[in-house]
Subunit: 209 residues, 2 copies
Amino acid sequence: MRLIGLLDSPYVRRVAISLQLLRLPFEHRPISVFRGFDEFRTINPVVKAPTLVCEDGTVLMDSVLILQYAQALAKRSLLPADLPSLTLELRVIALAQAVLDKSVQLIYERDLRPAEKQYEPWAARVTAQMLAALTELEQELARRPLTAGRAMTQAGISSAVAWYFVQQQLPKVVSTRFPQLAAFSAQAEVLPQFRAAPHGDSQCVPVID
Amino acid sequence: MRLIGLLDSPYVRRVAISLQLLRLPFEHRPISVFRGFDEFRTINPVVKAPTLVCEDGTVLMDSVLILQYAQALAKRSLLPADLPSLTLELRVIALAQAVLDKSVQLIYERDLRPAEKQYEPWAARVTAQMLAALTELEQELARRPLTAGRAMTQAGISSAVAWYFVQQQLPKVVSTRFPQLAAFSAQAEVLPQFRAAPHGDSQCVPVID
């Protein structure tokens, strides 16, 4: 099994950490969807990171769908089984994902276009959405604290990865207003599964899509 | 259970069709994330469509995560159970989703910015990715035909919704080069679950995110 994509992408990082928590061995190939476009295209013509090449050669993409495959393969779910817990879990995952989706849209607006092609109303809109998602996520963590460790579920993995990404990439935007998220992320980032999937060079354009 | 968002959004439409196939009753509230921003925000501060308000008031978003909740609630999966079939299913879903994600990025570039803020290299990149995803999806359908009907799974729902959306919104880009997709979509669109979730006014900006 090969995981293709830079760990600068929080979506790739979420998969790398989850595969380790599921104890699924994999080879990581850090190819950029920008600088490595031509090489990436030979593996997956859609050029989306993360891409997972399964043992049988099937090429998957999209971190949520890759995680569905990985859990089926490992015969172990990273989601709670009972409906009330699952509902709250899916809400936290969705909020963490909204944080990522909106922060990536903001970074793309800022870093992938010449200044004269940047459109302020769009940047303002996605920034507001990102901050709303962070605020809701912070409230969820205050209400129902997450635990970092071997038994952590997708909500924890996604929240920790999302916080780490935005505070690395958008430190001025998020500042220090999210103490629950910051504390939880600090617990998670010292776990071996997180340390083995370092975020990478925060100076480069995050390479996601 | 309330589903919030316009059916112009293929992601909302995918959920609406899936809920019907799962025989889960729901109320649909067609609020735009643009024109109805303030009203949407009172329901979900992140303003993302689809949003699902569960019976217990929990607010979910992201179509893939909403479908995970809906399947758990209905106690019925819209995915095959065995690993080889699931792997191929997830590949088809990922490709259909890439078609949607890239077509929406293209439409946003074209419709949500003044002409002088549009950036041609970005539009060209996402167009190429969308066409690559359509080409791969067409090949998958040629290899393993999908069946439209009551027993259809997420791969079928997503493929049909994706094709209908791009041929409505980007007819010049996709033209008629995807006969398998076109034929399968035609079968699916006459099903009552699809007809009950009409795409809406194709003249308006598709209102997704």
